[in-house]
């Protein structure tokens, strides 16, 4: 019996993954005949497959389309119960008077609460604390059966406390809609959830991510951990957030013309006009926004279909982000490229998550995933299919269990509203604000799918697990657009390598990582009759393409010239090309040289020149310069470089144009290096290492001034000498004692 033959409802899957003690919270009986039957069935499966129960659950293709999450069953949600409160005036201030304010139960001073309210809050807090302690997830809106159950528990406990203290029960506090929502989602809840997901519960790390992504809220809630740049996050954390927390805003309309709208709907919307800076949006945020959108849809779709939510989130996030990449810089992918990209991205994501789950090497996982996806269509089976990558037991993933539960999904979803207010998504074919609960409900009802346009680009089916055959794939429960036409014509290997490189960069951008690109560079096929020179040119051209160091290419990846990330990318590519130049022909290395040494030397050169530029800019008073100019002069070459500016909205300027131009100049040098045949390339590189430029002519200007001052000083000395010894006479003597005129003497000196 194969895994796909198992027919379990989502609730049953949950049950398989849930300890008996927690069953009640899922609205399921702790122990009954059905559960026993399922466990026996699972045990049988486990014996056959060697998988753990959790693994089994994640691998099962659910046959039943019955959705687990039915939020509408609990009626309208009342997240807040506003309370009008009177603040008395200051008795010592005759000008002060009583004021009215609207507050909430949880924000009321304790002494102003009625005994019933105090009791209720006590009960609520007790229950919530235990819930947070157990799952890292606060109780939020009554989305699910579990929340309903939780509320009932709160109510019961409230009644107990009320009875214990002789407090009359306030009926208005009872029932699913009377929740005061003391734990209305705040950014720290993201941290809580994230920490729950991550190994060792790295709350500070997750807090940093949230801080970075949700800076607006970070300012509002100072309890968040100090900022941690995404680029500083370890691979594991980035991978997790790729799936679940990749970005603050939104997908949908990401064409160039709509960039402003996306910005407004994204961080700008979140900022809600508070500051200009908060309204900034970059390609990164757009892509991250799409990742978030995808994650939302992925989670909801997976939940609705009983699939693994975790994987769904990753799939969705990756697909969403790829959607951004496809439209970034106005370079829409063709349908063929798009389809291939979908597979690649899906493979990459699966590879990444698999590597993460198995505690393996993330980059290798990505590459494997990419390779697997490419291998499905590529004529050269250079890659390892995804099926070869095993999934480690989920027991190694602390916190996995709660998120796989319906209420945790609800909890997660409910946090999104706070995270990205004003964010619109094409859900169910309609642009909707995801922070609005009816929107989320609609999304769930419609299968949580992207709008037709987006679905057309990234159909769910196309993103399905590559190792699952078409026959094994379950039909999605909600309507989806048709999958694009399959790619029939084989493509040259270099194209796939290029695509793989691009995809990896896409992943790097998503995660903020700058992992080394794949070491493999597929040499172009030498055509019949091609001379060595022609072939070298072809190889060089392929290498240049492989490097993707064009200003526009890098801009399309969201890299901002002048930033450290930009430089890191260039240097990473430099490592590759240096390895190609010298690795292909070790004879090019001179005595004492090594590939690593050459790579280090280039880094040293870059570092030294950066320092030199820093000093020069300080002298020129130009350290704090920003510009929107699309080009600038590389101070080390004098060449005007197109910087590859991003289509940024107001408030964003490129970093110091001189540094940006320096980086572009370095990229230009590397492109030139890549196009040179071996020996020439080696010589060119050595010449580059020896570059010593008097940037801005500072040294020569200084020397000129110093010389002028020196000459002036000498002139003064002469005058003093003349005055002292010769009075008004305009004579002096030369080395032979002959009298010479001062004018002649000056001429001699000059």
């Amino acid at each position: 019996m194969g895994i796909g033959d198992l027919s379990l409802t989502p609730a049953e899957i949950v049950a398989l993954n849930t300890p008996a003690s927690a069953m009640g919270e899922f609205g399921l009986p702790a122990e009954d005949e059905e559960r026993k039957r399922l466990l026996e069935l699972a045990a049988q499966q486990l014996q056959e497959t060697g998988l753990s129960p959790e693994e089994l659950a994640t691998r099962i293709a659910v046959q039943s389309p019955t959705p687990v999450v039915q939020p509408t069953a609990f009626g309208p949600i009342v997240p807040w119960q506003p309370i009008a409160r009177t603040i008395p005036g200051d008795p010592n201030d005759p000008d002060s008077s009583a004021k009215q304010e609207t507050t909430y139960l949880t924000d009321m001073p304790w002494e102003e609460l009625t005994p019933a309210q105090q009791a209720w809050l006590t009960a609520y807090s007790e229950f919530n604390d235990s819930h947070v302690a157990r799952y890292g997830i606060p109780i939020d809106r009554p989305w699910t059966n579990a929340a309903q159950s939780a509320k009932e528990s709160i109510d019961a406990r409230y009644k107990e406390i009320a009875a214990e203290y002789g407090i009359p029960v306030d009926e208005s506090l009872l029932g699913p809609n009377a929740q005061p929502n003391a734990y209305y989602p705040k950014p720290r809840h993201h941290g809580g959830i994230a920490g729950n997901l991550m190994r060792d519960g790295q709350l500070s790390l997750s807090g940093g991510v949230i801080d970075t992504l949700f800076g607006h809220y970070a300012e509002k809630y100072p309890l968040l951990a100090p900022k941690v740049s995404m680029t500083q996050l370890p691979v594991v954390a980035a991978s997790v957030f790729l799936g679940m927390f990749a970005g603050p805003a939104l997908a949908g309309e990401l064409g160039a013309a709509e960039a402003g709208a996306a910005a407004g709907g994204a961080a700008g919307g979140a900022a809600a006009g508070t500051t200009t800076a908060a309204a900034q949006a970059t390609l990164y945020s757009q892509m991250a926004a799409n990742a978030m959108t995808g994650a939302i849809n992925g989670v909801m779709a997976a939940a609705a279909n009983g699939e693994d939510i975790w994987e769904g989130a990753l799939r969705g996030a990756t697909a969403g982000a790829a959607g951004t990449a496809a439209s970034a810089g106005g370079q829409a992918l063709t349908a063929e490229q798009s389809a291939m990209m979908q597979r690649i991205v899906a493979g990459a994501a699966r590879g990444a998550v698999t590597a993460y789950i198995s505690d393996g090497d993330m980059t290798q996982g990505i590459i494997s995933g990419i390779a697997g996806a490419i291998g499905a269509k590529a004529p050269t089976p250079a890659a390892q299919p995804f099926t070869d990558v095993s999934i480690a037991p989920s027991s190694e993933i602390p916190g996995m269990l709660p998120l796989a539960s319906p209420e945790s999904v609800g909890g997660f979803l409910s946090t999104l509203g706070e995270a990205v207010p004003g964010t619109e998504l094409p859900i169910g074919g309609v642009e909707s604000d995801v922070t609005q609960l009816p929107t989320i409900e609609r999304a769930i009802q419609t299968g949580g799918l992207l709008a037709p346009g987006a679905v057309g680009m990234f159909p769910v089916a196309a993103l399905s697990t590559p190792d699952t055959s078409a026959e094994e794939q379950a039909e999605p429960s909600a309507p989806v657009a048709e999958e694009p036409a399959p790619v029939e014509a084989p493509r040259p290997p270099v194209d796939y390598a290029k695509a793989a490189s691009d995809t990896l960069k896409l992943y790097q951008q998503l995660t903020g990582l700058m992992a080394n690109p794949p070491d493999e560079f597929v040499m172009p096929v030498r055509e019949e009759g091609q001379t060595d020179e022609e072939y070298n040119v072809a190889v060089g051209q392929a290498a240049v393409e492989y490097l993707s160091l064009d200003a526009e290419d890098m801009a399309a990846q969201g890299l901002v010239p002048g930033t450290q990330e930009y430089l890191d990318y260039i240097l990473a590519q430099a490592d590759t090309i240096i390895a190609q130049v010298f690795g292909a022909d070790p004879n090019l290395l001179l005595a004492g040289e090594s590939v690593e040494g050459m790579q280090d030397a280039l880094r040293d050169l870059s570092e030294n020149e950066a320092q030199q530029l820093l000093q020069a800019l300080y002298v020129r008073g130009a350290l704090g310069q920003f510009s929107y100019q699309g080009s600038a002069t590389d101070p080390f070459t004098g060449i005007t470089e197109e910087l590859g500016m991003l289509p940024l909205p107001a408030g964003d300027a490129t970093l110091n144009p001189a540094e940006a131009a320096r980086q572009r100049g370095l990229a230009r040098s590397l492109q030139h290096l890549a196009a040179l045949p071996g020996q020439q390339g080696a010589e060119y590189l050595r010449g580059l290492f020896g570059r010593d430029v008097d940037i801005f002519g500072l040294q020569s200007a200084y020397d000129t001034r110093a010389e002028a001052e020196k000459r002036a000083a000498l002139e003064d000395e002469d005058f003093e000498y003349d005055d002292e010894f010769f009075g008004d006479e305009d004579f002096t003597v030369d080395e032979y004692g002959n009298i010479i005129k001062r004018r002649k003497r000056r001429k001699q000196r000059s």
Partner: protein, 614 residues
């Protein structure tokens, strides 16, 4: 008894103020310890200044800023600011921009018209925002998407829900403005959906940001204007950076303003606008420049900025003013000055820090005047000039202009609010005027008149009057020099005070004069003045003895019709003085009312007495 002696003071006061030398040392000098309301005429004599005569009719407010705008079709217009409005005109002031009411701009990318699409869903979806007017509770504004597909409809829908305020398209952006004026007039727009289903503002197409709210004012006229490519730009701390069309005076949309609140400095130079000093936004070290030839665009093209935090010579400073001259950009800090030299292309990204000045900065933005001889400005240490730089390698030299009367300048700095200080330049005569309106004192530097002190100190005088402080200065294409003041704009012309309360007098007080020998007693006889005046011109001669400040002798006089028959003409006035003294300090005061007075000579007659011993 000794023979009667005479000591002649030629061209008294024509070297201007000198408060650092109390007693005459060099009898060839012509300083005065008080030289008020005078100028040094072409003959090198001290003469009465002209009056700033009111030109405006029917205006009861005080004009505090003046700007001469020369339009693209060569029409020059005087712009001014008073009582929370910007005006044009001289005899009649026409309000062109009223900022008395509190307002807030919602930047939707500019260029929106009534017919522009809002971008809202054409459905029954509701969109909301909240607005607090004059500090009251927030008002909910709800708009149904289908009924607000254009901005015309959107404005109708918004205004239907607004009380005490309105919303309109100004400069292609939404502007919410209070219906009341003055300090209590405020607007606070929030992108909050309130009871609606969706956020309204951030859903609008091309929504960029809600700009900082502009509180209502009753005054606040510290604008700095700049004219550039058909528009007049106005910058003032805590006021919305505004661009007005020179023809129809409509507000133009400024695209992508990079500062977070408002800039206090704006100049036009080298093909673009330059702005600086966003104090409210907490950015007082940054200079921004617009796109080339486009003063409305600040976030594209070659627009950019320069944070000079790392360029101050002594750690930290803040920008007070910026000026452009001699292919340089001068950035005046409070305690230092940065000199940037632009490249041949004038590209700001290529400009380099050429020189810095430590310990001399700028007190007031409006004290800076770029003239044909250099840049004058007010520092903590007095009035300075940055000499015109003739060569690209030349560095800044800063002669102190107010060297001879610096104490008086410093006293005025201490008594004045920096934002009230104004300056002007009258190129016809080369006057640099620096006004302290609160104390009604204006220092006027005769930039073309040099004193003997140190070879090149410029003659400095003091101007004042009764009830007509000089709030602003501007010079126009017809060689008219204007002052902003009470009841509008005044022109430098004639000698008749315009109004009974506006009186001024030419005053000259000589240095203490020992008449060659301070040790010897003198018996005073008379003082004779050689004047150019009209018959009937009155005056008062005052004199003090022996450094005794409390005792002032005086004698009034009137220029006789016989002596001044030429009317006006040159004549003598002799006033008897008595008493004995070792040193004497004569002073003469001429109320100016219709005619000029020029002081040619003062002669002191006295007979020598004994040398006192013991």
């Amino acid at each position: 008894m000794g023979t009667l002696r005479a000591k002649t003071l030629r061209y008294p006061g024509s070297h201007g103020l000198n408060t650092i030398e109390e007693t005459v040392v060099d009898e060839n000098t012509r300083y005065g310890v008080v030289v008020t309301n005078g100028v040094v005429d072409s003959g090198g004599k001290l003469a009465a200044r002209k009056e700033f005569t009111l030109q405006t009719t029917g205006f009861s407010n005080t004009t505090r800023v003046l700007w001469a705008h020369r339009s693209l079709n060569s029409v020059e217009t005087i712009w001014s600011a008073a009582d929370g409005q910007i005006y044009t005109g001289i005899t009649t002031l026409t309000s062109r921009y009223d900022y008395r009411a509190g307002f807030q701009v919602v930047d939707v990318g500019g260029a929106k018209t009534s017919a522009s699409s809002t971008g809202l869903a054409n459905s029954t979806e509701t969109y909301g925002l909240t607005v607090s007017v004059n500090g009251a509770a927030a008002q909910q504004v709800n708009v149904t998407g289908s009924s607000a597909q254009t901005y015309a409809n959107l404005l109708v829908a918004i205004n239907a829900d607004l009380t005490g305020a309105s919303c309109s398209l100004v400069g292609g952006n939404l502007r919410f403005i209070s219906a009341s004026n003055g300090v209590g007039s405020t607007i606070s727009v929030l992108n909050s959906l309130g009871s609606a289903s969706n956020l309204l503002l951030s859903t609008l197409s091309n929504f960029t940001a809600i700009r900082a709210a502009n509180a209502g004012v009753s005054s606040a006229e510290n604008w700095q204007f700049a004219s550039f490519r058909g528009r007049v730009y106005a910058a003032q701390r805590a006021q919305y950076f505004t661009a007005l069309d020179e023809s129809n005076f409509t507000v133009a949309s400024v695209v992508g303003q990079p500062w977070s609140n408002s800039v206090n400095c704006v100049i036009a130079a080298y093909g673009r606008l330059w702005a600086a000093d966003d104090q409210e936004g907490g950015s007082r070290q940054t200079v921004w420049w617009s796109n080339l030839l486009d003063g409305l665009t600040w976030n594209s093209g070659d627009a950019g900025s320069l944070d000079v935090s790392n360029a101050w010579p002594k750690g930290q400073d803040t920008i007070i003013a910026i000026a452009a001259a001699f292919s340089r950009l001068f950035i005046f800090g409070r305690r230092s000055i940065l000199l940037y030299t632009l490249p041949a292309s004038n590209a700001p990204t290529g400009m380099t820090l050429t020189d810095v000045v430590e310990n001399i900065g700028c007190v007031a933005r409006d004290s800076v005047q770029v003239t044909d001889t250099g840049i004058y400005f007010l520092s903590d240490n007095g009035i300075y000039r940055i000499d015109k730089l003739a060569q690209t390698t030349a560095l800044m030299t800063l002669p102190q202009v107010s060297y001879l009367y610096n104490e008086e300048v410093l006293a005025q700095i201490a008594a004045e609010t920096a934002t009230n200080i104004r300056s002007g330049y009258y190129p016809t005569e080369g006057y640099y005027a620096l006004s302290f309106p609160t104390s009604n004192v204006t220092f006027v530097v005769m930039t073309r008149k040099v004193t003997p002190a140190d070879g090149n100190r410029l003659v400095g005088l003091k101007w004042t009057n009764t009830g007509r402080p000089f709030y602003a200065f501007i010079f126009d294409e017809n060689a008219n020099w204007y002052s902003g003041g009470v009841n509008g704009i005044h022109r430098y012309t004639g000698y008749t005070p315009d109004g009974t309360s506006n009186a001024y007098s030419l005053t000259y007080t000589a240095l203490w004069n020992p008449i060659e020998d301070e040790s010897r007693l003198k018996h005073g006889k008379a003082i004779t003045l050689v004047l150019e005046a009209a018959s009937g011109q009155t005056g008062t001669l005052e004199w003090k003895h022996d450094y005794v400040s409390g005792t002032v002798n005086s004698n009034a006089f009137t220029c006789s019709t016989s002596e001044f028959a030429e009317n006006p003409g040159i004549g003598h006035v002799s006033i008897s003085i008595g008493g004995s003294f070792k040193v004497i300090q004569p002073s003469v005061i001429f109320p100016i009312n219709g005619n000029a007075v020029t002081l040619h000579q003062m002669r002191i007659y006295a007979s020598p007495g004994a040398v006192k011993q013991g």
